[in-house]
């Protein structure tokens, strides 16, 4: 039995510690929460629990390719270097760019940033963190003078009032949410306010849910500041000692947002509800405001985040136990990326590219021959520049911009006509890889070593427990190998991640002496063994605080020139794109519980695709009725920028006139479900972060003649592309299809003849129903059902039966076992508990999440479904009470 490997989860910004029990057989590797890790204390969410499903070499990019040609690393990197140098020679360094990712480890990130900003001489390196955290970064820097998260997770538990705004953390940061739930259970007096235009799973825990008009949160917090001022609920002492420009800001806030009635109206709230919130905020010393994408992904996000920071500065509630603003990050290493300066407008180690001294400092430290002198292109501008042919070479690392960028069709087109697109990734197929001229195989989670920093500034190690598959290499190695080819061998002579980390730490300490927040001076002399055994630690780590630092700013000492925080007056803005007759619905976008980003890894886990298995748009029942829709109807969603085809779902959490779509699906998994193709490339003018949250759309039902399910061992060509959505399930691929072209058995047998030797079939003279069971010699390899409505099948039973191959074709063709099956929604992915079972448990008298757990095991592992269980409990009346 191998020793446990302690590592860190590669998904959200919570940064949970994961214990891995390695095994030579990848299928026997087990993961569990690390009891000692201060982020999760042993908890894991459903995605983390399923990590073992996502490893392995299936559908991995294992070898370098130029075009379709497999080549050696030498060849691939020589080609990359040559193309890069040619572009630089002819068009200058700003004609090349890196687009990197919050999925990279800090060490990978550091070398990529160093190469571009210090040695190529351009700042054209931006990152997908631009899409999620750049607004928080900009707000922090404007107000605090540094990109500093003042608090820590513990504050969320210590708070007497917790304000959660713009975050469905029950799904996006489940473990932090569970810590909060536990704290509230232990201390019911703790109040929770959820601010969200949707009633999400997170709101299940709320004492007060402010279901605001989409995009009106700026007015809410500006109004809060005004109200606090007018009601003298402010900490004058703190304001006078530690801040500037309060008076001017307070005055304009009062002038524009002093009328609570007007604010309530603006936010679509009734005055009393708003008053309650303002009172609670005013009266509760220990108040924490957690904010995330709902605030950040906005055309005026920096002002919104600023408004939140203002309210905490004005009340002196910052960096104190249970009292602080807290930006929670989306990605596992968004923070690490910010620390190394991965954004085009940053430099390194939280230093500014616009700051001459800091530029000089970094130049000297790096001994950089070609320091970038001005900020590079932010993501949206970067891809525009590619479209315009200004940037002719781009290297995309560990991210999928053809899916995740706003106006994604334009981004795809830009890459399609870019001179050179290099993509390094750990999987074989993504929308972006399909556009690459050079594909470089990167190591994935469990295969690479390095550090990540979570939302509370905690640096944790990711540790390898698997061999590198095929010829895959860690990203830092790929970058440094390229740097050597570009003639910078000496500056990139790293032999291991620890070398890079030490340099990163040294840079943070270099001429710092407390002048900069990001300071790892206590880690500069870390030996390789120390690095390997590094325990999770919150920066800054200085000589006098070797075990890290939980909080900032409790007693001022901000990082502006005069060490005082700045109030920055910014008037709340209406959403840039308004609904009109042509586009009557306001579309919101976000994550679902069981998927991550563009599904490159989470879709490798069958169970993670059972909770929600197809792309959808959620609408209020009134709108469903207005557009003549029923659940699961296929609809075309149209914006001024693009189209999607997804299934409509009634969602009581939506308000009339609003809609929600997940961000995950893309061309690898569905026919037309890239929500970002709908989204306008409108950005916050300061942070450059796109406004993903409010997009006016139109919706139209799509008439299809049939819907079908195809289950096959290998991918098979589809008879109609009107709508399809595929998902792997262990040895099988499951495709949901719909279309209008008439399908005949003969047609299907013809297109599938190469894969199937014998057929059993159900034929309908009216063409309504059609079933096929295909065998390759004696083994079932394909199962197909077509009918006017979606075929109802008991998937787990059918897949199992197909594997066992001990039933007749007729029994298989039924799709359900003779003894009726449970096709209801899967609620608990961990224990595979479906809604019907839970409802019957409730009917049998289970009246609490705990009793349901005891009776069905639902919610007893990762707990991610507990909000769903609560919903079922509240929406179901036990028969006993009827």
């Amino acid at each position: 039995m191998n020793a446990i490997v302690r590592t860190t989860c590669p998904y959200c910004g919570v940064g949970c510690g994961v214990n891995v029990q390695p095994d030579t057989d990848p299928n026997r590797i087990q993961v569990s929460g690390d009891q000692q890790h201060p982020a999760n204390f042993g908890r894991l969410c459903v995605k983390g629990s399923a990590l073992a499903d996502t490893i392995g070499t299936k559908q991995r990019l294992l070898y370098p390719h130029i075009g379709e040609q497999r080549v050696s690393w030498e060849r691939a990197l020589d080609e990359t270097a040559t193309r890069m140098q040619n572009v630089i020679r002819e068009h200058g360094p700003d004609a090349v760019a890196f687009y990197v990712s919050g999925q990279l480890l800090t060490e990978d990130y550091y070398v990529a940033n160093k190469l571009m900003k210090g040695f190529i001489g351009s700042a054209n390196i931006d990152t997908n963190s631009r899409l999620c955290m750049s607004t928080a970064v900009a707000a922090h820097k404007r107000v605090f003078g540094s990109d500093t998260v003042p608090g820590c997770y513990e504050d969320l538990e210590l708070a007497d009032l917790l304000v959660i705004t713009g975050s469905n953390m029950a799904w996006t940061h489940p473990v932090v949410y569970q810590r909060i739930a536990a704290a509230k259970a232990a201390r019911p007096s703790m109040k929770i306010v959820v601010i969200d235009p949707r009633r999400t799973a997170t709101a299940e825990l709320a004492d007060l849910h402010l279901q605001i008009t989409p995009g009106s949160d700026g007015y809410l917090f500006d109004g809060l500041l005004a109200w606090l001022v007018m009601n003298l609920a402010i900490d004058t002492d703190f304001i006078l000692k530690h801040t500037d420009d309060f008076v001017a800001t307070a005055r304009s806030s009062r002038q524009r947002s002093g009328d609570i009635v007007a604010v309530a109206e603006r936010c679509g709230l009734d005055e009393q509800t708003l008053r309650t919130f303002y009172h609670w905020f005013a009266d509760t010393e220990r108040t924490v405001t957690v904010f995330s994408q709902g605030i950040n992904q906005s055309a005026s996000g920096v002002d919104k985040a600023g408004a939140i920071l203002h309210c905490h500065l004005a009340t002196g509630r910052i960096g104190k136990p249970g009292a602080t603003p807290f930006s929670i990050t989306g990605q596992p290493n968004a923070m690490g990326g910010r620390e190394v300066g991965g954004l085009a407008n940053q430099l390194a180690a939280h230093m500014d590219i616009d700051n001459t001294e800091q530029r000089d400092l970094v130049r000297r430290f790096w001994r950089a021959p070609a320091m970038a002198t001005r900020p590079g292109l932010k993501a949206v501008n970067l891809f525009d520049a590619i479209a315009d042919g200004k940037v002719k070479f781009v290297w995309i690392m560990a991210t999928n911009p053809a899916v995740s960028m706003p106006d994604a069709d334009k981004v795809r087109a830009a890459l399609a006509q870019c001179e050179t697109v290099v993509v390094s990734d750990c999987v074989a197929d993504t929308d972006t890889l399909r556009l690459a001229h050079i594909r470089l195989p990167a190591a994935g989670w469990g295969e690479k070593d390095g550090t990540v920093t979570n939302s509370e500034r905690r640096i944790s190690r990711q540790r390898a427990f698997l061999p590198l598959p095929g010829e895959a290499l860690p990203d830092w190695k790929i970058v440094t190998d390229l740097a050597r080819r570009l003639g910078h061998a000496e500056a990139f002579a790293y032999t291991c991640p620890a070398d890079i980390f030490r340099e990163h730490a040294e840079l943070s300490a270099f001429e710092n002496s407390g002048s900069r927040d990001f300071d790892l001076s206590g880690l500069t002399t870390l030996s390789n063994p120390d690095y390997d055994s590094l325990v999770p630690v919150q920066w800054p780590v200085r000589e006098h605080s070797p075990d890290g630092t939980s909080r900032f700013f409790g007693n001022g000492h901000f990082f502006t020139s005069n060490r005082r925080a700045r109030f920055i007056d910014g008037a709340p803005q209406p959403v840039t794109q308004q609904c009109d007759a042509g586009f009557p619905l306001m579309l919101n976008s976000g994550r679902i519980r069981d998927q991550w980003h563009t599904m490159t890894r989470t879709a490798r886990s069958a169970r993670l695709l059972q909770h929600i298995s197809e792309p959808f748009i959620e609408l209020h029942a009134d709108d469903m009725a207005e557009f003549g829709l029923h659940d699961d109807d296929l609809v075309q969603v149209k914006s001024r920028h693009g189209n999607c085809v997804v299934r409509a779902q009634t969602q009581s959490g939506q308000t009339p006139g609003t809609a929600f779509m997940p961000i995950h699906w893309n061309d690898v998994f569905a026919s037309q479900a890239r929500v970002d193709a709908l989204i306008a490339p409108v950005c916050d003018p300061v942070s450059g972060q796109p406004a993903f949250k409010q997009t006016p759309v139109a919706i139209k039902k799509i008439a299809v003649r049939w819907q079908a399910t195809l289950i096959s061992r290998e991918a098979m060509s589809l008879p109609d592309n009107r709508y399809w959505c595929r998902r792997p399930s262990n040895d099988w691929e499951i495709v949901s299809l719909a279309g209008d072209v008439a399908i005949t058995i003969a047609m299907l047998k013809q297109i599938w003849q190469d894969q199937v030797t014998d057929w059993a079939e159900l034929e309908d003279s009216h063409g309504h129903t059609l079933r096929l069971v295909g065998y390759r010699h004696a083994t079932p390899v394909c199962w197909f059902a077509l009918q006017p409505e979606r075929p109802q099948i008991d998937e787990s039973w059918l897949l199992d039966a197909l594997d066992r191959n001990d039933l007749s074709a007729l029994q298989l063709a039924r799709g359900v076992p003779s003894s009726g099956a449970d096709c209801s929604a899967l609620v608990c992915s961990c224990h595979q508990v479906r809604e019907a079972k839970i409802l019957s448990a409730i009917a049998d008298g289970c009246d609490s999440v705990e009793s349901i757990g005891a009776c069905t095991r639902a919610g007893t592992n990762c707990g991610s479904c507990i909000p769903d269980l609560r919903r079922l409990l509240t929406t179901t009346v036990p028969e006993a009470l009827c």
Partner: protein
């Protein structure tokens, strides 16, 4: 003294009627049965399996002579009735016996349809109808050689299978486009032909027979295209014609058969008819179930019990050829406007076809696995709307 009841015929219709009467009141009538065949009552349906060697002779005999004695029934066998005198109310047998009646029942059944082509009187050209036919075929078959069976319906195929089992080289010649074309759709008919061929039975469909060739005994069957199928035995199994000569001669109203009402009354007050020789509202009968129903109706009437009369019904067909499981229900002659659902599993050799008219099951053909046949038959009878036709095909008949 009790009323005199005379029954002409001792086939399955007659014996069933006797049972029904006996079960009620054996002594109410003085019963006389006039049987043409030498044997006592036997199960004609069992002839095929018996011929195929799957049943013993004892299993065939349903009513041995002493059964008649036990119940005080007079059985004249081997002395066929010659005339009926409706005025005198008596029957004359060929040997001249005169039997008077108060109630007469005609149960003369049917004769095999004769094939009106040259040579049909040659030796070893037989029909397959009676126990004697079967016995002779069986003896003959022991010599082996080639046999031709004309007729690809139930009767013909059963004969063909029997002879095949007895070791003859059998060819089936059928003028329909596919075997059992009244009970099966074309696809099932073709599959049936395949499975018979696999058993070594040659099948010629859509083929007319021109003539039997040979001197004294048949030596071959000449087909429409001139080819001659050599054979030492030819069996005609193309159907039956109701035996109504006595009735007609006696002046009873006859059309294709003796015209009878639903209480089995003929045009003459004291004369009843049932079975293959009767005709009710234009319909003839060949299957056993309706004939048994007629026997019950008639028994009740004769015993002066309440009866609402004979109710016509659709009947399923099962081909009694072991190894080939074939089932058919519903009228396949009138299905043009129907929705059909087919299941094909070539690996198992299974085939199912269902016909639905405005959501109701109206016909079903099963081949290879007929286990659901009974359920489908019931569903056709009930005429209920089917919620999920596909599920129905999957055997969820309780849909």
């Amino acid at each position: 003294m009790s009323a005199r009841l005379v029954i002409i015929g001792n086939g399955m219709a007659a014996t069933k009627l006797l049972e029904e009467l006996v079960a009620r009141d054996a002594r109410r009538f003085a019963i006389t049965v006039i049987g043409e065949e030498a044997a006592a009552g036997y199960n004609r349906i069992m002839l095929s399996p018996w011929l195929a060697g799957e049943k013993s002779r004892n299993e065939l005999i349903t009513h041995p002579r002493d059964w008649y004695q036990q119940h005080g029934i007079t059985l004249l066998s081997g002395d066929p009735a010659a005339t009926i005198d409706t005025d005198q109310q008596c029957v004359m047998t060929e040997s001249g016996v005169r039997i008077e009646w108060d109630q007469l029942v005609i149960a003369t059944g049917s004769r095999p349809a004769m094939l009106p082509i040259p040579g049909n009187r040659l030796g070893n050209v037989r029909c397959f109808r009676t126990l004697e036919d079967a016995q002779q075929m069986q003896q003959f078959a022991r010599r082996g050689g080639n046999a031709v069976v004309i007729g690809g319906g139930l009767l013909g195929l059963e004969a063909a299978y029997g002879l095949n089992r007895l070791g003859m080289q059998v060819s089936v010649v059928h003028n329909g486009d596919w075997l059992m074309n009244r009970q099966l759709d074309e696809e099932a008919g073709i599959k049936l032909a395949e499975s018979l061929r696999q058993r070594g039975i040659a099948v010629h469909v859509a083929t007319n027979s021109e003539a039997f060739v040979g001197n004294n005994n048949v030596e071959g069957l000449q087909l429409a295209d001139g080819t001659v199928l050599p054979c030492s035995l030819a069996v005609i199994g193309i159907g039956i014609t109701p035996e109504v000569s006595l009735a007609r001669a006696a002046g009873l109203q006859c059309e294709r058969a003796i015209v009878t009402d639903t209480l089995m009354r003929t045009s003459v007050e004291s004369i009843s008819a049932l079975g293959e020789c009767c005709q009710i509202s234009g319909e003839l009968f060949g299957m056993i179930a309706p004939i048994y129903q007629q026997a019950r109706v008639l028994a009740r009437r004769l015993c002066r019990e309440e009866t609402e009369g004979y109710q016509p019904e659709v009947l399923p067909t099962r081909l009694k050829v072991s190894g080939v499981d074939v089932f058919s229900a519903g009228d396949l002659m009138a299905l043009d406007d129907c929705r059909t659902l087919v299941w094909r599993d070539p690996k198992l050799g299974h085939y199912k076809r269902l016909w639905l008219r405005d959501g109701r099951l109206v016909a079903a053909v099963l081949f290879g696995d007929a286990s659901d046949g009974g359920d489908y038959f019931d569903l056709i009878q009930q005429g209920l709307r089917v919620r999920d036709p596909a599920a129905l095909l999957f055997g969820e008949v309780a849909a």
